[in-house]
């Protein structure tokens, strides 16, 4: 049943946004009203589920980026079962693999988010995509970066693997490890920006 005129309300909006919606409606071959109603319906759903459409879209975008890097969604219990079995057999090789994977990811972040504050990008990635971390704090002052990641479900072996992965990321971003107080389920690491020797040599005294 169609809506009567009195069931319609007029809502003020910025004209430029409305114009862009009209362009999309032409491109998609959908009525403007259908696009607007879909946007309002879905945002009400998000408001009830998450709280902010902006935050949800930002998180979705990060998860989409991670998907592009070849990440897989896997039950944590299954992953941890496999890592713990292999950790006992070949700890060194496993730690090296995690470190190398972290380095690759760090380089990817640097390339993808060139010009952005990459430590802030990493913080957003960890808080959005590291689903095993329940609490995350990252401080970045004067070239020194501190991480505090709380992941109570991680075993000692998986905590060590995660910290190695983080160390690999930070190495690729140009930071060296200066402090590691990681214990089971709690990653406490400090990094310092490496001095760029080539550049320093060229700088005046």
């Amino acid at each position: 049943m169609g809506k009567r005129k009195k069931d319609i309300r007029f809502v003020p909006v910025q004209v430029d946004l409305l114009e862009r919606i009209i362009e999309i409606s032409k491109r998609e071959g959908k009525p403007v009203s259908a696009l607007i109603h879909e946007a309002l319906e879905e945002s009400i759903r998000v408001y009830e589920m998450k709280g902010s459409l902006r935050e949800m879209v930002a998180e979705y975008e990060l998860l989409k980026t991670l998907r592009e890097t070849g990440a897989v969604i896997v039950p944590s219990s299954i992953l941890y079962y496999s890592t713990e079995k292999l950790y006992r057999l070949d700890q060194r090789a496993l730690l090296e693999k995690w470190y190398a994977a972290g380095q690759w990811y760090g380089r990817y972040l640097q390339a993808k988010f060139r010009g952005d504050d990459v430590i802030e990008v990493l913080r957003r990635f960890l808080s959005t995509c590291a689903w095993n971390i329940t609490d995350l704090a990252v401080s970045n002052r004067d070239g020194e970066v501190e991480f505090q990641c709380i992941a109570p479900n991680l075993s000692m072996q998986n905590t060590e693997l995660f910290s190695k992965y983080l160390e690999g990321i930070m190495d690729a971003l140009g930071y060296e490890l200066v402090r590691n107080d990681t214990i089971r389920g709690l990653v406490l690491m400090g990094f310092k920006r490496r001095e760029r020797r080539g550049r320093l040599a060229q700088e005046p005294p």
């Binding site: 946004l17 009203s33 607007i36 946007a39 309002l40 945002s43 969604i73 944590s76 219990s77 992953l79």
Partner: protein, 198 residues
């Protein structure tokens, strides 16, 4: 900034106004933000409803204890563990499938295979296709991912069998090869299937 007006259904505006007021925000600002985000999402080549559905499925995964890990780490790891303890791992994956299926059927309804298909399409994003096709009392599950190695495919097959068992469906025929899982499923005795195409 020029202002215009958009015509919207009263029930939606009323509902939105209530939510906005409860957060001490202004309707003008919130509606502008909604349009901005809808435009951003169109830039991904998707509609807002598709993105919200996918996000909801991802959050189901997060709440169900899933994590994201690089394929390059996971596949060799699983391969190594599978060579040593294949049967144990298959059992663990099957059991996890039963658990997830029970969780999803409790959350979305045991008859809602369409929702199950949507959620699995997101959680199994490494697969290029995940499809459930109903044919009377029977259901065919197809999961295809060209990059999935053989050991991971076997575990995935066990996992998917577990998920479908929780929905009251048992595999009567399995076709599992590298990157391909096809399960023909039939309703377990005493269970009735409603509806048509998933």
């Amino acid at each position: 900034m020029r202002r215009g007006f958009l015509a919207a259904r009263e029930d939606l505006v009323k509902k939105l106004s209530e939510l906005v007021a409860s957060r001490h925000q202004k309707l003008f600002g919130v509606v502008n933000e909604i349009l901005e985000q809808a435009l951003r999402v169109y830039g991904f080549g998707k509609s807002l409803s598709e993105v919200v559905d996918e996000y909801e499925a991802l959050m189901v995964g997060r709440k169900a204890g899933y994590v994201l890990v690089a394929q390059g780490l996971l596949y060799p790891l699983v391969e190594g563990a599978y060579l040593r303890q294949g049967n144990k791992l298959e059992k663990a994956w099957y059991e996890h499938g039963v658990w997830l299926g029970s969780y999803l059927s409790a959350r979305f309804g045991a008859e809602d295979l369409e929702k199950l298909e949507k959620v699995m399409n997101v959680l199994l994003w490494e697969a290029s296709e995940f499809k459930l096709t109903k044919n009377g009392d029977k259901v065919t599950l197809r999961c295809i991912g060209s990059t999935i190695p053989p050991s991971y495919t076997s575990l995935l097959a066990s996992f998917l069998e577990g998920v479908m068992n929780a929905y009251g469906l048992t595999a009567v025929r399995k076709d599992v090869s590298r990157g391909v899982v096809i399960l023909d499923l039939a309703r377990q005795e005493g269970e009735a299937l409603e509806g048509g195409q998933a």
